[in-house]
Symmetry: C2
Subunit: 411 residues, 2 copies
């Protein structure tokens, strides 16, 4: 237990008055990573996020290692209220339309057309509430020839070109290890919703907004597209070297006990690196005198650096580059990241006692608004935990009506 540990409350308290999204009600059909990341950031900005799941729960609740809440679920669903709703039931759909009439945002990342096919697509909900912002996150978008191609993080990593430029030059295409596609989709979805909410302030009207994960990834390949335009060639995989092969040193270097990443951006950095390495004798060497020369002599340049790094522990290399103001970082493992003193000191990470998982590390939000109050962390909810509060307190159903809905499998 640390001083940073936060008390657990059973359910969201009244939103802090000075949060950007205080009073904004979000109907959250997000599942797995993409949708829930967008709505988690809304919850952390003060919105009342109502997570709506089928009575069996969303897929991320299913723990591949056995029953119980998953850490990823806890990370992505803090500060939300959870209700169940069976959209295959006519009364379930009627309840959704009723809720949409009172909400500001509905967000889903189902396959394209799912909500339309159920009879509760955007046009139906807009008729009930023209102020509703309806957000849909998909793999390829809700139009176009590839609309109905199934999409997951892995397959979008293939389709978007990421894999083609990740990995060893001599090896197969490689995915980025983290699920970067899902989260890029999620944060773009957040941006699209906020843009539509802002526009609504002027027009009084909501709208349909969409993000395709494939499109959200496009610009991250800018260096590779540029390489292709310049050379006419297919951009190769470059391992840990820069995608355009135009910068050196830019690589991951082995140390005596691990790895460091070094990226020399300016000529000043190179001169400082020579000083850090005790290799000022090379400062006028024409092979290394400019970035262009170093890129042409990439192997020789890297050999000079490796000769230095390989003899030192990684934290000593890091300390020396830090002292000399050269961009460098030790390669860190996931547990090192979870326990990073810096992110804990900044309040980005918190140690938290979750009712099911025990002590865990939770992120708060990378969107840091200095003029807003911080929202205190509340544990991710169990399935249907807030059915009574939401269907009773908010929608105004009686206890016996709620009991009927439960009995009939509507909620």
């Amino acid at each position: 237990m640390t001083a940073a540990m936060t008390a657990i409350t059973a359910e969201p308290t009244t939103p802090a008055p000075n949060t950007p999204l205080a009073g904004i009600i979000v109907l959250d059909f997000g599942q797995i990573y993409q949708g829930p990341y967008a709505t988690e950031l809304m919850a952390r900005a003060g919105a009342d996020v109502i997570k709506i799941e089928p009575p069996s729960g969303e897929p991320l609740r299913r723990n591949p290692a056995g029953p119980g809440t998953r850490l990823a679920f806890a990370m992505l669903n803090s500060n939300k209220r959870a209700i169940t709703l069976n959209l295959k039931s006519e009364r379930g759909r009627a309840l959704l339309i009723e809720m949409a009439g009172r909400a500001d945002v509905l967000l889903e990342n189902f396959s394209p057309g799912t909500m339309d096919d159920l009879g509760v697509g955007y046009e139906v909900l807009r008729a009930k509430n023209p102020r509703l912002v309806y957000a849909t996150g998909t793999g390829f978008g809700i139009s176009g020839p590839d609309r109905d191609t199934l999409a997951m993080d892995l397959t979008i990593q293939a389709a978007s070109g990421i894999m083609s430029v990740t990995g060893d030059p001599d090896g197969p295409p490689m995915k980025a290890g983290p699920t970067v596609v899902d989260y890029m989709g999620g944060i773009h979805l957040y941006g699209a919703v906020m843009t539509a909410l802002f526009q609504r302030e002027r027009t009084g009207r909501g709208q349909l907004v969409e993000v395709a994960m494939q499109e959200a990834m496009y610009s991250t390949l800018a260096s590779s597209f540029e390489y292709h335009l310049r050379t006419g060639k297919i951009p190769p995989r470059t391992g840990n070297r820069q995608a355009g092969l135009t910068t050196a040193p830019y690589n991951v270097f082995a140390t005596a006990d691990g790895y460091v990443a070094i990226h020399v951006v300016t000529e000043g950095h190179w001169q400082k690196l020579l000083a850090a390495m005790g290799r000022e004798d090379l400062k006028d060497d024409p092979r290394f005198a400019t970035n262009t020369a170093r890129a042409q002599n990439m192997a020789a340049t890297e050999a000079v650096v490796t000769a230095w790094t390989s003899k030192l522990p990684k934290m000593e290399v890091f300390a020396a580059t830090r002292r000399h103001r050269i961009p460098c970082a030790p390669v860190r493992t996931a547990p090192e990241v979870m326990n990073d003193p810096h992110m804990h000191a900044r309040g980005m990470l918190e140690r938290f006692v979750h009712p099911e998982l025990g002590e865990i590390v939770l992120p708060t939000t990378p969107l840091r608004l200095h003029g807003a109050d911080k929202v205190a962390t509340i544990a991710s909810p169990s399935i249907g935990q807030h059915n009574d509060k939401v269907y009773g307190g908010w929608l105004g159903l009686s206890a016996s009506e709620i009991a009927d809905l439960r009995q009939d499998g509507v909620i």
Copy 2:
């Protein structure tokens, strides 16, 4: 030349009336990728983005392959106006304060403290304009023990744990090939600015907002953090397998002429894959009967799939999986992605004749707002292209005052 090709106009036309950010003025000190991506999305949403560069231009203008505009620069700076400003000059700083008095947003991704050290930090600008949203994108944030560690995409890939879980199990840590960190930082910055603009509608006040790239990446490692919590072990690199090693098949498979990525999510997908492969004989095989069983027999499961994929061209494998509704995608190269018929059909990508680069492919925006007008593409500006319009037309300086500023190196 195609029908989709867009005419080039010399400078931004009047914003379309029905865009979310019409009338919003952004002072854009963004450089390289992170900051400019955030402001490019604002320009595509209708904001008047004024790109402010030192008289020598921002770093991304410097083409490592020789003089001339870079494709990445064109991608990230369409639909912006460009002015020059020397912040090391006292008159330059006075001009900035004057502009901040009339702007809605200022965004920069300098090292922490740069603007404060110059005397034009948030507190100074807020005194001039309390409605200003001041956004800063950094590697580690503007507080905390690591604040002043230099940060680039590569080094944050090391520090954030991405590299530790990317690459072959037997190989060194590997970066994600694309510059995912810069763009994750940029889109989070966009989200933070939009949140603050929305809050300003209620409070009438702007605020300081910040995004640290390291923090923007944190949640993408959710699967790895979960693996660590479950096992107590350091999450290994898993190549193209799922980070938690709990799903199979989930991998990249060699075909006769390339690679495909396949991710079997549900038991239904597995049964369909058996049908696609003509291996219904395995449908009751206990080694493959459930995902848990397949994960325990991962090599055997993958061998069954590879025996099928390795004999067919990748597009035939893809066609078969598409027909059977199994998540799969061919691994595509950067040129295939740039010329993707689907994204061109959707209007995400456009063929465009740029005054310096000739015919190129430009992205529009992944934030698709169906209730807003699309902003027509305008070529990225040359250095200081809009000095006269902005300093004259907007700030109201006379032609001779502007000539003096130019002569004195202030702009």
